[in-house]
């Protein structure tokens, strides 16, 4: 069964009704189980689970410690192009926004890479807007090839590609893919992305799978929380991670929980996610999938990120700028305002003080050639 079919199988299922029927006593039983079903996972997202949030968090923390210890991998995003053909109303990079556009040349990318690398970062995440004419696969290939000389791992967060194009980027040196579905709800997705390449829900949904077939070592899934009912998006993101883990057991699967942040334009979330709900999503996922990675970005404040660490986090970004050339080579409009502005040494020091080991190097392409 494809993941699209799994989503369809829930079409006639009343998620809200099921969640309303869950009791705190049922949550207690679920927390006691060693393996959770899809329905158990959904129950942990219900409002009844809020009454057992501390117990769920304790379980999530214990599972995380068992599987990942106290190690937190650090990475830095590098925005290399903010040209975008899409008109997503929730994104600063959207085509219709009158913002400063830039597109880094290879020497500029190298300059940024040297700056970031000098700060101690070994894992880099390359981001672009969706503009194949400006940020073509060939350009990305060159960028990745260049970056692999400066970093031990190169991840990409770009528009969805074909399997053959993923294979090109993997051959160039990319080993991780992050891609968010924005929302798993098809009608909402269609309303938010009425035209252009991004209107193809299914092409985006199957992107991780194509990249796994092409040989990607690690993939991250998620929704942009706030665009649609967070509970159903968190549920389907969890099912997506579970599906990929079952289908591609050798691939490291991770999830992230980006929440909408203030940005250019006047879009406001239709379904804002509060901190308690955020913790509910994250701890529910950890209990459902004890071995998946969880990444927390600088969309969240330093204080909140530090508090989340024991509950399941395995990777965090540090020393972040969300504008193209933001590490010194140029200046442009940021994709979103970051809430955690700490530099890499501060994040490292804070992690150690909180009892976590900052891991700068968790993979090297040299190990696979």
């Amino acid at each position: 069964m494809s993941f699209a079919e799994i989503i369809d199988s829930y079409c006639s299922f009343d998620i809200e009704g099921y969640c309303a029927s869950v009791t705190p006593a049922a949550i207690d039983r679920i927390i006691d189980r060693s393996t959770l079903s899809e329905r158990d996972f959904l129950a942990l997202l219900s409002d009844a689970a809020d009454e057992r949030l501390e117990a769920t968090a304790q379980k999530a923390a214990a599972l995380t410690r068992l599987h990942f210890g106290s190690a937190i991998v650090l990475f830095t995003p590098m925005y290399i192009s903010n040209y975008c053909d899409n008109i997503c109303p929730y994104c600063s990079f959207a085509h219709h926004h009158d913002i400063t556009r830039s597109h880094l040349s290879l020497p500029e990318i190298e300059q940024e890479a040297k700056r970031i690398s000098a700060g101690g970062i070994r894992h880099i995440l390359v981001l672009t807007g969706e503009s194949p004419s400006k940020a073509s696969v060939g350009y990305l290939e060159e960028a990745v090839r260049l970056l692999r000389n400066h970093f031990s791992s190169v991840a990409i967060e770009i528009y969805p590609l074909s399997q053959a194009d993923y294979a090109r980027l993997i051959a160039a040196g990319a080993d991780m893919l992050t891609l968010y579905q924005e929302t798993y709800d098809k009608p909402r997705y269609a309303r938010l992305h009425p035209s252009g390449a991004k209107a193809d829900y299914r092409f985006r949904l199957d992107a991780q799978e194509r990249s796994c077939r092409a040989g990607m070592r690690a993939v991250t899934v998620g929704a942009l929380y706030g665009l649609h009912d967070w509970r159903s998006d968190a549920f389907f993101a969890g099912l997506h991670a579970a599906y990929l883990q079952r289908r591609f057991p050798a691939v490291e699967i991770a999830a992230s929980f980006p929440r909408l942040r203030p940005l250019a334009g006047d879009f406001s979330p239709s379904s804002p996610v509060g901190d308690r709900q955020f913790v509910r999503m994250m701890t529910a996922l950890r209990c459902f999938l004890p071995t998946v990675g969880i990444t927390i970005s600088t969309r969240e404040s330093a204080k909140f990120r530090m508090s989340l660490l024991p509950l399941g986090v395995t990777r965090i970004s540090a020393g972040v700028s969300t504008s193209v050339g933001g590490h010194g080579s140029a200046g442009s409009t940021a994709q979103f305002e970051i809430a955690d502005t700490r530099d890499v040494p501060s994040v490292k020091a804070d992690l150690l003080a909180a009892g976590f080991q900052p891991v700068m190097h968790d993979w090297s392409r040299a190990l696979t050639g």
Partner: protein
Amino acid sequence: MDELIIGTTAVRSRLITGSGKYRDDRLIPAVLAAAECDIITVALRRIDFDRPAESILNHIPKGKVLLPNTSGARNAEEAIRSAHLSRAMGCGDWIKIEVINDQKYLLPDNSETIKATEALAKEGFVVLPYMYPDLIAARRMADAGAAAIMPLGAPIGTNRGVLTKDFISILIDEIRLPVIVDAGIGRPSHAAAAMEMGAAAVLLNTAIAASDDPVAMARAFKLAVEAGRTAYLAGCAPTSNEARASSPLTGFLDT
């Protein structure tokens, strides 16, 4: 003296520890001192050979036997490449082969592990394959030149104890190499039980690294391994499910 001999190396301690999952790598020297272990395994994926100043290797005291592991390798080819890199970067000839292509349970791929064992043993590596306790695979690893066999007790990081006890017993009986129980040992009592069975050594990490007091836990494991080994050498008294009859059925033959 009761020594553990792997290849041509003899060591005193039968407790091998890992180096991952600590809240601070600076804890490692104190943990190793408390564990009194001679061999320590380090994931090659965590060593930044480009930045030796920040390397985890700096926290490992001199004089220990370094057992780099190929964690992250998904097939024999990647494990072999990792071993080559390890040797080229001065990490010695010892290699623990971990070939895992299941990220959920982290179970090893025995057939790829056999291939990697064969290739690396031919190149003169001291090969310690991490494996699922299957006698046929263990024999092939031994024939391929492994220096020891490292069957799992339970999936990595689960701390569930030696769930594969009966199958590890078969390996201990049949394989003429040190059988080192790796993964799953969560408590000192598990380690003692593995040693009582006749395991040559145990390797563990999470149980120490994820405890509230890793240094104290390291000492507890040292004592447990010594207790289990001493009991094995002393020969445990037999056990019985029933009480012994005080008037045996054949007693009339003696009268």
